[in-house]
């Protein structure tokens, strides 16, 4: 498969401060990759380097086969970039802004109108076409940011926190827009909202303090880094006795009461507890209302990784 992004030893200093340290990663064409990390981890810096806005202090980055420093123009022709805090020209209307983007990206005069219409349609901007960008709501601004990136169909899209500051329904809309890009574009997006990443992305790269700490599919990450397996039970029975009985089952590390008859049981990974737990409850004559294994969320994986790093 063709490689779209190839970063080697990517390092960036701001003065004496190290922002990104020796990042190595690849993104294949067609992938949607989430770039995850706490604030200040180096996400934005990395994306700015890939987009050709900043030059790395050391190391190389190649996009679509072109070097980000020496072939900057070719790199910039292959990508659409949505900066953090959506940058828009407040004094231009939506159409004026998109026409400018089309001309700047070298869309021919003949194709210009068609291209602007296409991205306006794809991003649902029809009703605000004639409005000044300054008058747009945050959700529309974000769509406008995405629309300008989509102009001229770049093979790669780089988005820095595309859903930040949006309300829940707007987040769902933007997420759907990004989902629609699957197949035609390679997408690299940064976020610190984990559910978003686990829903959207084929692969997650987690970065902390300028270094990659994990890189895998969201499912694999929660499996490998979840530190064991967990079962959630709901039982109608005397609280303290139920908890003690569950804790006594062999292989159980911990049984926690969560109130209203809910219990969380933890064991080492790979241990299947459900049959034994069910048997214990039924044998005691209590009622088993619910029994399910629970996966670790990406959030927990993330916190585990980040705190491990720090300790």
């Amino acid at each position: 498969m063709q490689t779209m992004i190839e970063a080697q030893d990517l390092t960036k200093y701001y003065g004496p401060q190290l922002a990104v340290s020796r990042l190595d990663f690849e993104v294949a064409a067609g992938e949607i990759v989430g770039f995850l990390g706490p604030n200040g981890a180096g996400k934005t810096t990395t994306l700015k380097i890939l987009a050709g806005f900043l030059a790395p202090s050391a190391g190389t980055a190649r996009i679509n086969g072109y070097d980000c420093v020496t072939d900057s123009l070719a790199v910039r022709r292959s990508l659409g970039y949505v900066p953090e805090n959506v940058a828009i020209y407040p004094d231009l209307t939506v159409t004026q802004f998109l026409r400018f983007a089309a001309r700047a990206k070298g869309v021919s005069a003949k194709a210009e109108t068609g291209e602007v219409d296409r991205v306006v349609g794809a991003c649902g901007l029809e009703e605000v076409r004639g409005k000044l960008a300054a008058a747009l709501s945050k959700g529309f601004r974000q769509r406008l940011g995405l629309a300008q990136a989509l102009i001229n169909q770049p093979p790669l899209l780089i988005m820095d926190e595309p859903t930040i500051g949006l309300d829940p329904s707007q987040i769902v809309e933007i997420r759907q827009l990004i989902k629609n890009l699957e197949g035609d574009h390679t997408v690299m997006l940064s976020s610190h909202i984990l559910p978003e990443v686990s829903q959207l992305c084929h692969r997650v790269i987690i970065i902390n303090r300028g270094q990659i700490v994990a890189s895998d599919t969201p499912e694999n990450l929660s499996r490998q880094l979840g530190h064991g397996s967990r079962v959630l039970l709901t039982v109608a029975g005397p609280d303290e006795q139920v908890r003690a009985a569950l804790a006594a089952v062999s292989g159980v590390n911990r049984a926690l009461g969560q109130g209203e008859g809910k219990y969380l049981v933890e064991a080492d990974s790979g241990v299947e507890l459900r049959p034994q737990l069910a048997r214990v409850v039924v044998e005691r004559g209590w009622q088993l209302l619910e029994l399910k294994s629970q996966e670790f969320t990406l959030e927990e994986v993330f916190i585990n990784l980040v705190t491990e790093e720090e300790s």
Partner: protein, 262 residues
């Protein structure tokens, strides 16, 4: 070819913003108000003097001075040049500073445009705006030309001087705007530098010797004055064009350094 299209895209974008916001209308209004006022008073003064000269035709000294270029347009050009000093920072201060402040620089510099296309686009738009304002003042000699005979060649030289001086000031203003993300700072720096290049020749009058002569030849005013006399000197042309190139080049360097810093 593609960069020309990109350059035109930047020019059009900047002009759309100039004409879409009050910048053009307000600067234009006051520029023409002041220019019109000075033109009017110069003409009135000129007519009074010529009236007096007609009464005492025996005074050859006054008669020799009585030509409209000397008495109306040279002082007008000098005043327009001073208005420029105040006007240019307002035209240029937002050009690059605002892009940085609002974050749109990240878009602009990740579009496939060379730095030159961006700089030339912004400079071109500001220059065009200035030329439009200047074009309005051409109506003054056209009106006056209906009544009296004018030396159009000398007037043309004066306008060429104004165009070159304006372009030089705008290139310096653009550079000041590339230094900061604060428009006010950009405006103040542009104004201070322009003022410096304006008055730097004055040290010669203090008898500063060779160094003074160097300063004098760096002065914008010094080179502009020849144009207003109706003289087009290669030295003045070369000075103005190098001045423009120098500051556009510094702007490019400043933009490049951004990639390596932060």
């Amino acid at each position: 070819m593609m960069q020309i299209r990109g350059w035109l895209a930047v020019v059009r974008k900047e002009l759309t913003i100039y004409f879409g916001t009050p910048i053009f209308y307000i600067t234009g209004f006051f520029f023409l108000l002041l220019a019109g006022y000075f033109f009017y008073t110069n003409v009135v003064y000129y007519s009074i003097i010529s009236f007096q000269a007609a009464q005492q035709a025996s005074n050859p000294q006054i008669a020799a001075q009585l030509n409209p270029l000397q008495m109306v347009f040279r002082p007008l050009f000098a005043i327009l040049a001073i208005i420029l000093l105040f006007l240019v920072p307002f035209i240029t201060m937002r050009l690059l500073a605002e892009e940085k402040r609002s974050g749109t620089a990240e878009l602009l510099f990740t579009y496939p445009l060379t730095d030159w296309a961006v700089i030339a686009g912004k400079f071109g738009a500001a220059l065009l705006l200035y030329l439009i304002l200047l074009a309005f003042t051409v109506s003054y000699p056209l009106v006056l030309g209906q009544i009296i005979r004018l030396d159009w060649g000398a007037l043309g030289a004066g306008y060429l001087g104004l165009v070159l001086l304006g372009a030089a000031c705008l290139s310096l203003g653009l550079f000041a705007s590339s230094l900061t993300e604060n428009q006010i700072v950009a405006g103040v720096v542009a104004f201070a530098l322009l003022l410096l290049f304006w008055i730097i020749g004055w040290v010669q009058e203090l008898g500063a010797g060779d160094l003074g002569r160097i300063f004098q030849s760096l002065s914008l005013m010094e080179h502009f004055e020849n144009f207003t006399k109706g003289v087009i000197d290669t030295r003045d042309l070369v000075y103005c064009l190098s001045f423009i190139y120098f500051f556009l080049f510094l702007t490019k360097r400043q933009l490049e350094s951004r990639r390596w810093r932060a």
